[in-house]
């Protein structure tokens, strides 16, 4: 099996899963209980919080655990909008955000907020200049993803942060779900107020994630109840998930130190090979792109057909974001880059992890060549 769908989800590390099992079995008490068992579990969470904070170089009190990336994004966007609406009701984001951000903004539009969706260029990159032109006196939030999940384009986060530095009233949220471990980011230096993460994108379990909330930033909670997570998120914590996530993050950050070169080389290899296949068009830009995502189109072949044909040969890739790939319309992201309909509706995404090898890359190219060849023959008949 060649698993090249890591941007949809990654395979959990066995070590993280072992942690999950041990914690679920042995540390089952409610961390809010005041007896000794509760105390132990509370200590586990605070150790995980500290480990995660150390790994991304922020303070433990700035980490809010959530049920995943979608909740982190919803909490950041709606939490800021609802809490600070008296200051202004204008929000800025981009046309290529993940559905969990995009749809949050759509909902806020219905609640009377004014949302500007910034366009992107051919490369899928948003322009700092465009952003500057859209900033108004009543703007309270700018939300931009770091690495685009379909194209792999890296957005100019530091440049945006620098611009927003001059507008201290505007909060800056970054969706870092695709970037963590692959494309580093400096939270404080980039002026980021909020940043979202999801455990299953870095080989942790599903159903858990976290939001970085810079100290001093206030939010409306989405979930009301107990005073867990500094009152940002009520509800008994997902203990096994949180501890396993802390472990997975450590392993990923460690791997990124010595596996990054291999990943970059694998991506370059696949890119180069794809660019030599006739009828294949690369959509991921060569510069400003993450080391693990390659998006390409094979006009004339329906992506679904190609995916199933590859699957028959043990290769797993995807079309667009898994979260929206069941709807049949064209990719919103590719459409935003201005590609014509045929190219935008025939995109395939290969997404890698540190676990993938050169050998898998070579086999993938070979299989892809054969599959395209076969399909073209069939279609001509």
């Amino acid at each position: 099996m060649i698993y090249f769908d890591n941007s949809a989800t990654t395979k959990p590390y066995p070590k993280a899963m072992k942690t999950y099992m041990t914690v679920a079995e042995n540390y089952f008490a409610n961390p809010s209980s005041i007896h000794r068992l509760g105390g132990e579990v509370e200590k586990l969470i605070s150790t995980a919080r500290k480990q995660i904070a150390d790994l991304i170089r922020v303070n433990p009190a700035e980490i809010v655990f959530t049920s995943g990336g979608t909740e982190a994004n919803n909490l950041a966007i709606k939490g800021i909008a609802l809490r600070h609406q008296t200051r202004g009701k204008h929000l800025i984001t981009t046309e290529i955000e993940h559905a969990s951000c995009y749809e949050s903004f759509r909902q806020l539009q219905q609640l009377g907020f004014d949302v500007t969706f910034l366009p992107v260029d051919r490369k899928g990159c948003v322009s700092v200049q465009d952003l500057q032109n859209e900033i108004r006196n009543d703007t309270i939030l700018v939300s931009v993803m770091h690495v685009n999940n379909e194209l792999g384009t890296v957005q100019p986060i530091q440049g945006i942060g620098k611009l927003l530095n001059e507008h201290p009233k505007i909060f800056f949220h970054v969706d870092h779900v695709q970037g963590i471990g692959k494309v580093p980011i400096q939270y404080e230096q980039s002026g980021i107020d909020l940043c979202s993460f999801s455990s299953h994108k870095f080989h942790g379990p599903k159903g858990v994630g976290f939001l970085y909330v810079r100290s001093g930033v206030t939010l409306s909670p989405l979930l009301h109840g107990g005073s867990q997570e500094f009152k940002h998120r009520a509800g008994t914590e997902n203990i096994p998930g949180i501890i396993a996530m802390a472990k997975a993050l450590r392993l990923t950050i460690e791997k990124s130190k010595y596996e990054m070169d291999n990943l970059v080389q694998l991506k370059d290899y696949i890119r180069k090979q794809l660019s030599e296949i006739e009828g294949v068009f690369l959509n991921t830009p060569e510069d400003y792109s993450a080391p693990h995502i390659i998006n390409f189109s094979v006009p004339g072949i329906k992506p679904e057909v190609l995916i199933h044909a590859l699957e028959e040969r043990g290769v797993f890739v995807s079309t667009k974001s898994a979260c929206s790939s069941k709807s049949t319309d064209v990719s919103r992201v590719l459409e935003a880059t201005g590609y014509e309909l045929e190219r935008a509706s025939s995109a395939i995404r290969v997404s890698l992890s540190f676990e993938n090898t050169r050998n898998e890359g070579e086999r993938f190219i070979q299989i892809l060549l054969e599959v395209i060849d076969n399909l073209k023959k069939v279609m001509r008949e």
Binding site: T19, T22, V23, I34, H35, R36, G39, E42, K43, L44, T47, A48, K50, Q51, D54, R57, N59, P60, A61, Q158, G161, K162, N165, Q189, G191, I243, A246, K247, R250
Partner: protein
Amino acid sequence: MIYDHIIVKYGELSLKGKNKHHFVNQLRDTIRRKLKPYEGVTVKKAFDRMVIELHGADHELIVEKLQEIFGIQGLTLAVKCDLELENIQKTALEALKQAGPAVKTFKVSTKRNYKQYPHDSQELNHLIGGYVLKNSEDITVDVHHPDVEIKVEIKPEATYISCIDYPGAGGLPIGSSGKVMLMLSGGIDSPVAGYLTMKRGIRVEMVHFHSPPFTSDRARQKVEDLTQVLTKYGGAIKMHVVPFTDVQKAIKKQIPDNYSMTIMRRYMLRITEKLAAQNDALAIATGESLGQVASQTLPSMNTINEVTNLPIIRPLITMDKIEIMEISRKIGTYDISIRPYEDCCTVFLPSAPKTKPRREKANRFEQYMEIDTLVEEAVNNTETVHFKEETETRDNAFEDLF
């Protein structure tokens, strides 16, 4: 990152006379201990400063560590380059760029120890400043109040360029002023008092009063966690956990309710004084702040203080709660302190503690108690725990999980 060394400036230390080297050596030892986990980083003494050579280590991490050390007034990030004008210009530009996105104005100040250098300082200011201006956007020169001052030192062997300064923690090097016993409760105040005491170069040992089963393991854990945080600033710390249940029971039984808190604190001082003697400490530190609670009024302190003639250091005595909370957030103890567990001061808290207790009355109430026995038993059964400064605080039992 281009920075290759950090200059450590002493501040108050440099005013010391003959025994200055004693302070400086103490500081150097602390810095070496702190930076030990970072391979390749070296520490060198120079006249009136210390130089940390990074050898590729992440300067932000090292600065963060150095900012935890008392006795350092300020830190300057610097880069060494050769004497070629073109290289000096390029390095200066790069150093400015890395000073951060908010920089709008700058100036160049050159010092030329190497008098044979073909350009004089004034010329160099122009040559370097002009180059930086030409090669950057949105940045102008401001010679009076620049955001960043690019300091260039031309020496015979090399050029040193710096433009980022960080504040240090101030104070005196830890261990240069002896030792005191700190009464640590687990609240917001006492850890801050510990921090400020250490700031003057004093080593502290913690004294914590524990009353099982009225106070829980989690209350004790809280104090242990606080102590662990404070090791960042003070190095290894000993914590003495005093079993206090018997004393509290005796007070409850024999002392009128409104005086129980006053008497309890007198016991705490007596026990701490004994522990001080055993551990060669010459004073006691507390987190008292005038007027905050009933035990912290002048009549209260006067009555409580009667039982010891050891100096009592009260760094917070004139501070407002807000100021104390601010420091506690800064040093990383706030989030631990606000965990909501009972401590020995709250379990037996009378409904109306006396705010104006009198010494005579306290003495009269105490005369029927077996003070010496109670104190001795508490001291004899005191448990001592050692805390080492850790680069990562991780519980051993949990280690495999993370």
